[in-house]
């Protein structure tokens, strides 16, 4: 317990430093956030046009898309604000830059993936929060569930992206795999899951777990029930534990680089 507190305390300092360093270039900070909000908003216009013509697709309508966008953008935003370096994990391993993280007496996985904040992710959170509070009808129960779901989605995404990056311990080069995997999960997650069936659904609940960050939370918010919530919690624990275990295994294969670098 003491170790966990120390780790959390350390990560809080890392996050604070990340934030201060991002704020150093204030105009750039604001531009990136505004761009991401605009990007998400314009993407949502596509769905407004789409549902103007089709009303519903296999039971999914615009209200479901609002829920989907509010959860996925908030979850992804939280993930990459706190663990923005997870997307670069494979490069760190490939280039032998993990040396910096493993020489300190801190958990190398948490330290490495938390040492960068994605500024545009702040825009994602603002967009998701705006949609939930201003475009969706909610009560206290729904609000609590939405917060829980967003945090679970953030945990699943962080674990999934870390797993992709960790592959570099064995494959050497995993940057392409990592990019493709992130593209795949985010793209599949932003469309109504009801359009997929058969093997595609199987993939979306296993290899590319987009179903757990889109369909399950949306159905949970539409019809709150303990079973769906339990499934989501259990899956989050499984994927996070697997990611942690896999990184530990991979670290044993790590070959240090002779690259001298300073972590600013």
């Amino acid at each position: 317990m003491q170790g966990f507190k120390q780790e959390l305390n350390f990560l809080t300092h890392v996050w604070k430093l990340n934030f201060l360093s991002a704020m150093e270039y204030r105009v750039n900070f604001i531009i990136q956030i505004v761009m991401m909000i605009l990007n998400n908003a314009l993407y949502f216009i596509f769905w407004i046009i789409f549902f103007e013509t089709f009303t519903a697709v296999n039971g999914w309508d615009l209200s479901n898309m609002l829920l989907l966008f509010s959860i996925v953008t908030t979850g992804a935003g939280i993930a990459f604000i706190f663990f923005g370096n997870a997307t670069r994990l494979s490069s760190l391993i490939e280039d032998g830059q993990m040396d910096y993280y493993i020489t300190l007496p801190k958990n190398p996985l948490f330290y490495s993936i938390s040492s960068r904040t994605s500024i545009s992710a702040v825009g994602d959170v603002i967009f998701g929060v705006f949609i939930f509070f201003f475009l969706i009808e909610f009560n206290a129960h729904k609000l609590i569930l939405w917060v829980i779901c967003s945090i679970l989605v953030a945990a699943i995404l962080t674990a999934y992206v870390s797993i992709l990056g960790t592959m570099a311990f064995w494959t050497g080069r995993a940057q392409v795999l990592s990019e493709q995997g992130i593209n795949a999960i985010m793209t599949f997650a932003m469309y109504p899951s009801s359009i997929f069936n058969g093997y595609t659904r199987l993939i979306l609940f296993t290899v590319i777990p987009a179903g757990f960050i889109s369909e399950v939370p949306v159905s949970l918010l539409n019809e709150p029930n303990l079973i769906s919530l339990s499934i989501l919690c259990v899956f989050t624990v499984i994927i996070c534990s697997f990611s942690y275990w896999l990184f530990g295994r991979g670290l044993k294969n790590y070959e240090s680089g002779n690259l001298l670098n300073i972590n600013m």
Partner: protein, 265 residues
């Protein structure tokens, strides 16, 4: 004189084609996102159409083949914007001024070679996927030349807009936000994912008045539903906007050249 000029720029295009072919694996890697998107949209449109034979004048097959063309053009556009704005900002544009070519024309042909290879590969990859899942689209061989002409003019039009934005770097420190806004204009008003005919009336009017639809929507809609009158209409509009934007681009370039300062070192 004219033959020499054509020779000069064809050489530039030839070098660009050779360079692109060296990195053919990179092009294939980029097509993977197109495959993913097409796969998702095949599922989406199939569910949305249900038993409907036609919506807004498009059959299911036409809507999906439309997306193949818009995605192909989007992923094969002449990608010189960042290079031009970078050279303006760094001042390295000054080194090219003494060379025997027009800077913007040189960059156009340099990007066009790469663009042709990408067009070919992206279209083949997208078509194979859609052919397997959805089936063929009725298509006349005689329409190939007019459609290719419209696609070429779409690439020129896009290059002129990108060029104008890139040259704004003479007056602004960072033009990335302008590139971003333009890409989003193409996404919505260009009809990237959904044909403009599906839009509500008021938005359709805005989209068809602005030139963005001539880059993605016009070539794609012509491909899935060819008619001579539609072809001529698109051709006139594209030529009109190309003329307007060429004049603006040349004006910005000349004003920018006068502002250019270069330091030795």
């Amino acid at each position: 004189m004219i033959i020499k000029t054509i020779d000069k720029y064809s050489m530039v295009m030839g070098v660009s084609i050779k360079n692109t072919l060296v990195y053919s694996k990179e092009i294939l890697y980029r097509t993977s996102f197109m495959i993913l998107l097409l796969f998702i949209f095949i599922q989406l449109w199939t569910s949305a159409y249900g038993d409907e034979a036609s919506i807004a004048g498009y059959t299911l097959s036409q809507t999906i083949w439309y997306l193949v063309v818009t995605e192909t053009i989007l992923l094969s556009k002449i990608a010189m914007g960042n290079q031009i704005s970078g050279e303006v900002i760094s001042g390295s544009l000054a080194y090219t001024l003494g060379k025997p070519y027009h800077y913007m024309v040189y960059n156009f042909f340099s990007g066009l070679g790469d663009s042709f290879i990408r067009l070919f590969i992206n279209f083949i990859v997208g078509s194979v996927l859609v052919f397997i899942i959805i089936g063929p689209i009725s298509f006349k061989v005689s329409t190939i030349v007019p459609i290719m002409l419209v696609v070429l003019l779409a690439l020129i039009l896009d290059y002129l807009i990108i060029g104008m934005i890139a040259l704004m770097a003479f007056f602004m420190e960072d033009v990335s936000s302008l590139f971003f806004i333009y890409s989003k204009m193409l996404f919505i008003l260009g009809g990237l994912l959904i044909p403009i005919d599906f839009f509500p009336g008021w938005l359709q009017n805005i989209a068809t008045t602005l030139p963005f639809n001539l880059i993605l929507f016009a070539p794609a809609s012509l491909f899935v539903n060819f008619s001579i009158s539609a072809f001529l209409n698109i051709l006139y509009q594209q030529l009109f906007w190309i003329l307007i934007f060429s004049l603006i681009l040349e004006t910005i370039y000349r004003i920018g050249q006068k502002k250019l300062t270069s330091n030795g070192g």
